[in-house]
Amino acid sequence: MEEKYICFNLSEEQFAIPLLAVKEVIKLQEVTPVPQMPHHIVGIFNLRGQVITVMDLRKKLNLPTAQTSETAIMILNFGKNVLGVVVDSVNFVQTVRENEMQERPMTLAGAASQSVVSVFRKDEKLILVLDIAKALSVEELMQMGMAA
């Protein structure tokens, strides 16, 4: 068993999510802000006729939000919903075999630690596999939207 992961940077650290959740990756776009939203929801933009909400994962995890030429939006499927997620850079796609996947060390203590499901190694570096829906509190937001 092996699975493909897309690897991206948030600040200095490398994270990964399953490739299948990613619809496409585009460069950072200008967004239209929406008032009264949590600070990590930066706004909406037009992706070929579909209006997509953009969240900044870095803001959610209280990381610095530098703008470079590599800053990108990953367009992700969350069930029926499509969201754009801003990350510092998207690096490569990595195939990970089941036996390469390791449990997350108990020592993780950052803002994202609760959302890290496992880790794997590449080039002597640890890459953290993220439950991105959890990291962005997507379910919570959906329920708020439903209740309103």
Partner: protein, 581 residues
């Protein structure tokens, strides 16, 4: 989803459709009890329901529809005729099937208790019909008259053969070749998401098209120009026909009203006839889904408050049977739905008194007759002294008006004492496209639906009074209107001096008010889109639209905006993060 559940859900979809078809038949049957064709149609539908429900494994459902079928068979065989009591039972059974369908949709393993209705159907005695209907269910042992299914089908086939023979005979006599009645509906069921996806792409194409058109100005190549011109014609057509995909006949909603009128009239012991016209009129699917409730309310209202009792009608020289006409038609780019009754009409004086009594208006208020009639839409107003079972359920006509305003529509009343009342609902043909003003505030663009804007003006400095207690007020002619700055709601600040701002006067709420914006860019038809679920529910924002520059703008709902501002606990936002790029 596994195959079995998929089958079951498919069945439920179909069942819901058949059951709404069959309801119409019951009502026809009541009018014309001897119509063999109607009875046959009902029987066929019931039989199909039973067969397929058993096939997909809904046993409760199957058992009930089996008994339902048996009951209809008795009517078919002439064991008893179609009295209102029989139709009552049929309708009750129909409702029960609906309940079961809805229940099963949410839980495929739902169980249902049908004993009461089953007993009613089994024990129905034409002589004592009424007693049985109102009697509580007593699961008595009854002899079941239950012909085997083969018998029924054989009979059915024989009858159908006879029927078609009759048709053929007739056809032979008149020398016309009778084509078999084409009942197959040539439609294709498509998921709404697919249609929306198509519409998104078409919208994008239209935007690109206009960019292309602009670029063509600087091109000399005549051949290329011709082709671009043709493409733009075709894309216009694609836009029109894809928009029409969302359009559907108003029929299902209208049919529901037959039942509402019947039940309401029965409950009030009135004799009322409902006449439907324009059932084929097409309306946007979203509008269709949301027009039902207000219509039910208006129809009930007409039967309850509008139509007088038979005695009163006779003494006023009217026919004993009251008439409610429900019609739909297109008129100059709008959809019009009329509910017209020949009842007592709205008495302005009476309405006025009640309004004063209930504190809706001041005792010395000067109102024209028409304004008095409009009072029924005021919150907290109900014309009957006593709240009736039928129309007084706490939701008033004000809710109807709100519902219709939410659909970007309006409602008008025409009423003449003693002659009748007409409610006219005017709706946009589609919710997807609305006329809007595109405005700016502190570099952000917003769309405001035009139907809310009464007038726009550039106020002179002296017209705006700043007051410690009231905030800013616009002195417009002899009115003093509260002013809100668009940015106040969202935490944007404008750098344009107040004297340069543009004022939009909104009069669609009870209290008129003004909204200040930096500038009006242009007026345009916009295609509305829903915001993602994760950011829905901001009061004052109804959706979004993609403007000509390809960027989305928020659509403002001014009345909701004000509600937010006026609600206690509103804290103005200081600042909002802006662009990420």
């Amino acid at each position: 989803m596994d195959f079995e559940s998929e089958l079951k859900l498919g069945f439920l979809e179909e069942a819901a459709q058949s059951i709404s078809d069959v309801e119409e038949c019951f009502l026809d049957l009541e009018k014309d009890p001897s119509n063999v064709e109607t009875i046959n149609k009902i029987f066929r539908l019931a039989h199909n329901l039973k067969g397929s429900s058993k096939a997909v494994g809904f046993s409760d459902f199957g058992a009930f529809t089996h008994e339902f079928e048996t009951f209809i068979l008795k009517i078919k065989n002439g064991q008893f005729s179609c009295t209102p009591d029989v139709v009552n039972i049929l309708l009750a059974a129909n409702d029960h099937v609906k309940v079961m369908i809805e229940g099963l949709k949410t839980d495929l393993n739902a169980q249902f208790d049908s004993t009461q209705l089953l007993a009613q159907m089994k024990n129905f005695n034409p002589g004592t019909g009424t007693a049985v209907v109102s009697a509580p269910a007593e699961p008595t042992q009854a002899v079941r008259v239950e012909p085997s299914i083969e018998e029924i089908l054989a009979q059915q086939a024989a009858q159908e053969a006879m029927l078609s023979n009759q048709v053929l005979d007739k056809a032979n006599k008149t020398n016309v070749v009778a084509a078999p009645k084409a009942t197959a509906d040539e439609t294709l069921r498509v998921a709404l998401t697919k249609v929306e996806h198509l519409l998104n792409n078409v919208g994008e194409m239209v935007i690109l098209q206009s960019v292309l058109q602009q670029q063509m100005e600087s091109v000399q190549n005549e051949e290329l120009k011709k082709i671009v011109h043709q493409i733009s014609k075709i894309s216009k057509e694609i836009q029109d026909s894809s928009m029409s995909l969302r359009m559907t006949a108003i029929k299902p909603v209208f049919q529901k009203m037959q039942r509402i009128v019947r039940d309401t009239a029965l409950a009030l012991s009135k004799d009322v006839q409902l006449v439907l016209t324009g059932e084929e009129t097409e309306i946007d699917k979203t509008v269709l889904d949301r027009i039902g409730d207000p219509l039910v309310h208006l129809i009930r209202n007409s039967v309850d408050h509008g139509i007088e009792s038979s005695d009163v009608r006779l003494s006023n020289g009217k026919p004993a049977q009251g008439k409610v006409e429900l019609s739909a038609f297109h008129k100059s780019g709008s959809l019009v739905i009329e509910i017209k009754d020949d009842g007592g009409g709205l008495n302005p004086e009476k309405l006025r008194k009640i309004a004063i009594q209930k504190g809706v208006i001041k005792p010395d208020a000067q109102l024209t007759d028409q304004e008095c009639q409009q009072l029924i839409f005021a919150p907290g107003f109900s014309t009957k002294e006593q709240v009736t079972d039928v129309s007084g359920r706490g939701v008033g006509m004000d809710v109807v008006k709100t519902n219709i305003t939410e659909l970007n529509g309006e409602i008008k009343i025409e009423s003449q004492v003693g002659v009748g009342t007409t409610f006219r609902i005017i709706l946009p043909l589609t919710m997807a496209i609305i006329d809007s003003l595109i405005v700016t505030y502190s570099e952000h663009k917003f769309a405001i639906p035009l139907n809310h804007i009464h007038e726009t003006l550039k106020p002179k400095a002296m017209q705006i009074q700043s007051n410690q207690n009231l905030g800013e007020t616009l002195m417009l002619r002899n009115e003093n209107l509260p002013i809100f700055r668009l940015g106040d709601f969202f935490g944007f600040r404008s750098h344009v001096p107040t004297s340069e701002l543009i004022c939009l006067v909104i009069r669609t709420s009870r209290e008129p008010f003004c909204i200040l914006v930096d500038d009006i860019l242009y007026q345009s038809q916009i295609v509305t889109k829903q915001l993602g679920q994760e950011i829905q529910g901001v009061k004052g924002i109804s959706g979004t639209t993609i403007l000509g520059d390809g960027k989305p703008a928020l659509i403002i709902e001014p009345i909701d905006l004000i509600k937010r501002k006026l609600s206690p606990g509103y804290i103005p936002q200081k600042d909002v993060h802006t662009k990420v790029a």
